[in-house]
Structure formats: structure tokens, C-alpha cells
Amino acid sequence: MLVNMLTGSLEQGLAYALMALGVFLTFRVLNFPDLTVDGSFPLGAAVSARLIIAGTHPLLAMLTAIILGVMAGLLTGFLHTRLKIAGLLAGIITMTALYSINLRVMGRSNLPLLRQNSLLTIVQDLGFSRMAATLLSFFLIVILIKILFDFFLHTELGLALRATGNNPRMITSLGVAPQKMIILGLGLANGLAALSGALVAQYQGFADIGMGIGMIIVGLASVIIGESIIRNKRIVWATKGVIIGSIVYRFLISSALRLGFSPTDLKLVTAILVIIPLARPRRGWLEGIKKIAMKEKEAG
């Protein structure tokens, strides 16, 4: 039972880790609260499912998903930097628009991938079990993306992107337009989210219009859990933390299920998971309680 839970968490954690890396890129590196993910993640699932059903090679379908995810991010970036719409709102607008687009892509609200070719069946055909094929292919993809991601953030361009999130005034004075970096970062992050959606669709065997709901919070939860496990703030370590965070998050969720929570409660569980580490109660509230206790003691 526990073994099943662990492998299940590992498989899902890896599939969602790419989306979490995207959230890390916008929220942490770029310091931009991007909610596009709730739309770009199911976009990746919808596009890849639709293409796979139409007979496209799964790898090509995933590549298309990435490109369309990037475009979703670019749209949010355009709304924010060129049309001057507030960041949060720009993401919500794109996410809302994507809901209709995703339905158009799928043609209905749920698109099963039963008996279809997928990345997983291709690897299985090489002689692996379903589980081994899943773990192997997801692991390789995540490692490859992590290496590229880390490398990118240490290039001249990547440094400029990080500095934009850190100190936009300074990077402007060094010759970089922060707005361009924001657009670039949003594009990359949502490309990752879409790829993640494509993996999840193939893993669970269907794409669903509702699969993006609350995705941003799932991503944030993974980032936060990762940060509490790996405290080293260097990029290479931080991205490792995000991946581990995504896996641990899945483990916590399946533990919640085992504790008797119903699947429909999971969003609530996730929300609480995010609130606890993010909450910064008013300073001194604990002292305040102590003081009251002391007074009562004196009075008593």
C-alpha cells in the first residue's frame, strides 16, 4: 500500500514538477504573480490529447503543447507590459479566455486517451512495465528540463531576467528593458505548464476542462514545500527543491485521501497547505497572548 502511494506520488510529482518550475520562475525569480497557469496547464493537456487522437506523434503533440503554452504566457505579458493591465488581472484574463479555447480544442469537456499512442506506450513498447516506463520517461524529462532551466538562469539573458525580478530599476540602468524580461519569463513559465499538462493528460489517460482549476496554488504549494525542505537559495538547489516539493505535495495529498478526505476536499487541503507557511501573523501576537496570561496570573 505504502509502496503504491510512494510510486504514485513520485510519478505525479514528476509530471506536475514542470508546472511548479514555471510557477517558481514567475513567482520567485521574476517576482510576478502569474495566474495564466490555470489556463495554460489544461491547454497543454487539451492540445496534446486532441493531436494524439488525430494521430500525431506524441512527442510532436507535446512540442505543440509547449509552443501554445508559450503563446499563452506571451499574451499575458503583452496585456501587462504593453496594455498596462495589472499583472494579476492580466493572468486572470488569459486564463479565462483559455477556458473557452480549451473547450474548442477538445470539442467537449473531457477527452479520453484510451488505447491511444502516448509517450508512455512508446516507452512501454521498448520492453518496460507501465510503472517503469512512467518513472523513466518522466524522470528523464524533468532532469533534462531542470538542467536546461538551471543553465538558462546562468546565462547573460537569464541573469538579466533574475535581476528584473530582484531590482528592475538597477537592470534598466544596465541596459535591459524589464518589460521584455517579463514577457520572456511568462512565455517560458507557461510553456513549462503546458508541457506538464500534456504529461499529466497522458499519465491519467484523459484531458479534462477542469484539470487546471487551482493549478497555481498547487504550483505554489510545491515551491513552498520545496523551500522548506531545501533552504539553499542557489538556483540549482532551489529548482531541485521545487521538484522535490512537487513530489512531497503529491504524497501529502494522497495521505490526505488515506486519512479519509474525499477527493473533492483536496483543493481545501491544498489551500490550507499554502496558507500555513505563507501566513505572517502580526508581529508580537504571541507576546500579546503571553502578556494577557501574565496579567491574569497577577490578578489571580
Partner: protein, 266 residues
């Protein structure tokens, strides 16, 4: 090299809090000129620097750099030839990035940023070399987050970054005002060294009248958006702070009343 022609700038025009920041500024600087700028709060000193940097567009007038009109060019496209140190010691560096990464950001100032590894082995030796000139031991802390450095150390690093990637103009906006006296002294002498070594054209805003007369090659005093005094090299030597205050009173028909200036003038 850099000419400002009849620059006007008013904030919030037509509103009750309308504020005339610059009113007909004309300046002509040659390569290697070191201009110190003094004046009370609201005199327009920072606005002047922001217009040169491209953060603010003037309402009218033009900024000419080497014969080219750059008045409407945005800040990030001027960065190739303008280095800048802000008043806030934390404003010129990225706190969450390492010392070496900050220097690497400045090294490609104004250039197109590529997908090359930003910090190569050679650049580490180069960075260690320039950091050594500070004498703060930063050459051994290349991989530490800048956020761990003190304000003075960060401002020293910002100064190094501001002159990396060979800019021709250096803008210093009260860049030592927030530092303790000894660190400030150290940074001033470092500035002098770098500026003469690289032949930079400098605009330095300061509240310290004595320092304004002591440093650089030319001093201007601003008041209410105008340049009211322009003193060139030789004449500055015989001038005292008392003379400056006296001439201000005579020119403007009122006393110079700015606590920060007067405190330092005593």
C-alpha cells in the same frame, strides 16, 4: 560631448500641486568634465540627472550626446554610455544575486544579452582583480549574495558596476549621503581614481558644499529649476562655503535655507 538645450520640466502640470522642476537648463560638457551640482531640496538636481539618464522625458528642450539627439531615447537604451549610482545604497545591486553575478550583469552594459554562460573562469579572475582595488576583501566573496554586504560595501560595488562595460558618463546622485563618514571618504577617493583613469564625464549631486568645491572641475548651483551659479575650475579654489551662501542670498534675494546643507556647511 553632452549638451542640454533649454530643458523644461514641470510635474503635474495644471494640477494644484503643479511643480516646476526645471526651467530652461543649458549645459555643455566636454569629455572628462567633472561637474558637481548643489542646491536645496526641490532645486531640480535629481530631475536633471533623471533626464540625462532617460528616466524622465523633458517637456521641451533637447539632450544631445555626441551630436545626436537622444531626448526621447528610453533609459535602457542609454545605459551603454551612462553608468549610474543611486542615493540608496541598496538600489544599484540585485540583493539575491551573487557579487560575481552582479558584476557580470554590468559587464555587458547596454549590449545584447545572449545565451552564453554569464560567468566564465576568466571573468572570475577579472572580477576578483577589480574588487581588489576596493580593499574591502570582496574579492574573496564572489559567490556570496550581495544582500549579505553592508550598505557601504554595496555602494562601492555599485560604483564598480557603474563604470564596468565602459560607459562615458557617470551619474552620481548623492551616492554617499547614506554612508558613514569614513566609508564615504573611501568611496570618494576611489571615485576620483576611477574617473581620472577612465576619463569619464561626471555629474555629481551633493548636499555637501565643501565637497562640491573640492571635487571635480566645475560646480553649478541650482535653485527652483534654474542654474544660478556656474563656477569653473580656477575660480572654485578661492571660493569658500560662506562665499557660496552669501552669493546665493545676493542672487536670489533670500537666504539659502536647507537644514541638510547648512548643517554640513558649519
Amino acid at each position: 560631448m553632452l549638451r542640454l538645450k533649454n530643458i523644461f520640466k514641470t510635474y503635474y502640470p495644471g494640477e494644484p500641486n503643479q511643480q516646476k522642476a526645471l526651467a530652461g537648463i543649458n549645459l555643455d560638457l566636454k569629455q572628462g568634465d567633472f561637474l558637481t551640482i548643489i542646491g536645496s531640496n526641490g532645486a531640480g538636481k535629481s530631475t536633471l540627472l533623471n533626464i540625462i539618464a532617460g528616466d524622465i522625458e523633458p517637456d521641451s528642450g533637447s539632450v544631445i550626446f555626441h551630436g545626436k539627439d537622444i531626448t526621447r531615447r528610453p533609459a535602457h537604451r542609454r545605459a551603454g554610455f551612462i553608468g549610474r549610482v543611486f542615493q540608496d545604497p541598496l538600489a544599484g545591486t540585485a540583493a539575491e544575486m551573487s557579487v560575481a553575478e552582479n558584476l557580470a550583469l554590468a559587464k555587458v552594459r547596454g549590449q545584447k544579452r545572449r545565451l552564453n554562460r554569464a560567468i566564465k573562469k576568466e571573468s572570475r579572475t577579472e572580477f576578483a582583480g577589480i574588487l581588489k582595488t576596493l580593499g574591502l576583501g570582496l574579492e574573496n566573496r564572489l559567490d556570496e549574495s550581495v544582500g549579505l554586504l553592508s550598505g557601504g560595501q554595496r555602494q562601492a560595488l555599485t560604483l564598480l558596476m557603474a563604470v564596468l562595460g565602459s560607459p562615458q558618463i557617470l551619474l552620481l546622485d548623492e551616492y554617499i549621503a547614506a554612508l558613514d563618514p569614513s566609508t564615504a571618504e573611501q568611496i570618494i577617493s576611489l571615485t576620483g581614481k576611477i574617473v581620472s583613469q577612465k576619463g569619464l564625464t561626471v555629474f555629481m549631486v551633493t548636499h555637501d558644499l565643501r565637497q562640491a568645491l573640492k571635487t571635480g572641475t566645475r560646480t553649478i548651483m541650482m535653485d527652483r529649476g534654474e542654474i544660478i551659479l556656474d563656477i569653473e575650475a580656477e575660480k572654485r579654489k578661492t571660493l569658500t562655503v560662506a562665499d557660496l551662501l552669501e552669493r546665493f542670498a545676493r542672487l536670489r534675494g533670500r537666504e539659502l535655507t536647507d537644514d541638510r546643507i547648512l548643517l554640513q556647511a558649519r
